[in-house]
Amino acid sequence: MIGKEVPLSFRSHYLPRSRTGWIAVLAFLGLMTLVQPPLVFWVDSRFGSAWVLGMPFLYVYLGAVYFALIGVLIWAARRAV
């Protein structure tokens, strides 16, 4: 068996197989994109001088997205995705 496909019948394990699975994965990836380059650097250059609740915008922005990401994980766990 060299360089051939293994004769097993299965569906991809990298793609969700349910609607809630797709929602969880897309929500997580979408939110993660918000805290990765180049978006996070654009946010810093565009809103870097702004303040929210007495704290720098970038600090609050990152914190808010992190908590949203955790929210997605908890939602997924509650739905047993």
Binding site: V6, H13, Q36, P37, P56, L62, Y66, L73, A76
Partner: protein, 519 residues
């Protein structure tokens, strides 16, 4: 009462608590290898949660994180990214590792990879990578312990004596109670370190600035360069941002002291909730670290070693009892990682080397005692390394963060079925090329083109693994069907009920017969 007396006394009080817990764990354990090495695969959510977070956050969370904010500014809040990613990896990959460990009685990462790739070479390479890139952390944590107790006692207890003393305690309760002792002490350590960091940061920010919000205003007024990307020294480039996110999430999860923890969970549901909620602890610990580091940059701007900012602020500006409480918390952070690394290395060396190649058919008690002997040997090596600074060690420590990351293709190949599975040749070639590229991009040409060496190395590893796997012999149909079939059935089929049923109908070969004797 003098500050050093209170501080040292609180540290010794904490040490006493860990010794008592080690003694109690010894009373509860049996001379069974799964009990000694894996807590009998019965760790519930609370215990597992606190041991994972306490192990993940080492002395770095206390000393290094504040230092990073002090030197590179708000960019280090990127830490939230890798802590959340760690949770997601645990949720998706960790649960599969748990299921396979339960189904096939795996104890070490090498057990799982060697079984799937049907290769002793894979076992040896995985064991070597597991040990080599974590054993150095023994030195790092031991040095942290020596430094902490030296600061707390005002140099009345030397660095060398403090290191020796606390290493003996950590090794002692591990030898006495196995992983049960590590888990029980980690519960105390996890709670203590979290409360200590928050309490210290809040007290300091109110004493020095009038509160966190006033602190932010002072930083904006006096050091605005600390509040923007890529930071005063230009450290947090896009390439470094992504690279640190990958290296400090996947890289740490794949280290044996974290991966083995997945095997110990009582259920897959426990692992899922662990993944969903550990980022809360891991990420929010960096909030007070930001206050310490950024506030410290205003109050003590000329510190030679930024990693000392937290203890320096405490000694100068905090009351003695609080300094002691927090330094005991720092001791807890370092010890909880130290004992876990000692345990992981002991497990790998006992299981993957001694039991596999030297003495395969001994009684469980024999392996438990060999494990204890290995811990003793690791303590001696760790102590010698911690009181000597050797040039090549500095290089190895630089590599170690992303070293375990090289196990990612092989691990994904086991846990995520694909139509064209990776092969043992592909995995071995990938690890070899990945480690070579890691050396080049972290030591010879550090972070070439502004991209973290972890990214270069894992890209080279995956490319090599996929290419070589396309032209080499895959694992047998029987093995692929057995392992990937178990994953398919657990994740998308009958779940935990099916797993239990499979274990009842075809129990896995038990590694060691159970024994009721008390150690």
């Amino acid at each position: 009462m003098e500050t050093w007396v209170i501080a040292t006394g609180l540290i010794f009080l904490y040490v006493l608590v860990t010794i008592v817990l080690g003694f109690l764990a010894n009373r509860a354990m049996s001379l069974d290898l799964e009990d000694f090495l894996l807590y009998g695969r019965k760790a519930g959510f609370v215990v597992l949660y606190l041991t994972v977070v306490a192990t993940y956050h080492s002395a770095f969370a206390f000393l290094g994180a504040g230092g990073f904010f002090y030197r590179h500014g708000i960019g280090f809040w990127e830490a939230g990214t890798w802590t959340v990613l760690t949770g997601a990896i645990t949720y998706t990959l960790g649960v599969r590792i748990w299921a396979l460990g339960k189904r096939f009685s795996y104890i070490t990462p090498a057990d799982m990879l060697a079984d799937f790739y049907e290769s002793e070479a894979v076992r040896v390479v995985v064991a070597l990578v597991s040990v080599l890139f974590t054993i150095l952390y023994i030195q790092v944590q031991a040095q942290g312990l020596g430094y902490i107790i030296s600061v707390a006692s005002g140099d009345r207890i030397s660095f060398e004596m403090g290191t020796l003393l606390l290493m003996i305690v950590a090794g002692g309760y591990l030898m006495a109670g196995g992983l049960r002792a590590v888990y029980w002490t980690d519960v105390v350590q996890g709670v203590w370190m979290y409360l200590a960091v928050w309490a210290g940061a809040l007290v300091l920010s109110y004493r020095l600035f009038g509160g966190p919000l006033a602190l932010w205003k002072r930083v904006a007024a006096e050091r605005p360069d600390l509040l923007s990307l890529p930071g005063p020294e230009g450290f947090f480039t896009p390439g470094m941002w992504i690279g640190m996110s990958v290296a400090l999430s996947f890289g740490i999860v794949l280290q044996p002291h974290i991966m083995i923890r997945y095997y110990t969970a009582v259920s897959g549901r426990t692992i899922r909730w662990l993944g969903a909620t550990t980022p809360i602890f891991l990420m929010t610990l960096y909030i007070p670290a930001a206050l310490v580091g950024l506030g410290g940059a205003i109050v003590l701007p000329d510190l030679t070693n930024p990693d000392q900012i937290f203890p320096e602020l405490l000694v100068r500006y905090a009351p003695g009892w609080l300094t002691g409480l927090i330094l005991a918390g720092a001791t807890a952070a370092a010890m909880s990682t130290l004992d876990s690394i000692l345990h992981a290395n002991m497990t790998v060396l006992t299981r993957d080397v001694y039991q596999r190649y030297i003495a395969p058919d001994r009684e469980p008690a024999h392996y438990v005692w060999v494990g204890r002997g290995i811990v003793l040997g690791l303590l001696v090596i760790g102590y010698i390394l911690s009181v000597r600074t050797l040039g090549f060690l500095v290089t190895l420590v630089t590599l170690s963060g992303a070293g375990a990351l090289q196990l990612l293709p092989g691990t994904l190949g086991v846990c995520y079925p694909t139509r064209r599975p990776f092969t043992k040749s592909g995995v071995l070639a990938g690890v070899g090329v990945g480690l070579t590229v890691l050396y080049v991009t972290l030591v010879t040409v550090p972070h070439a083109l502004g991209i973290h060496g972890a990214i270069w190395s894992i890209a080279a590893n995956f490319t090599t693994c996929i290419t070589v796997s396309a032209f080499t012999k895959a694992p047998s149909d029987e093995t692929i069907g057995r392992i990937h079939g178990a994953i398919e059935d657990y994740v998308y089929g009958s779940g935990e009920a099916g797993l239990e049923e499979a274990l009842r109908s075809t129990p896995p070969l038990r590694l060691t017969p159970p024994a009721a004797d008390s150690a």
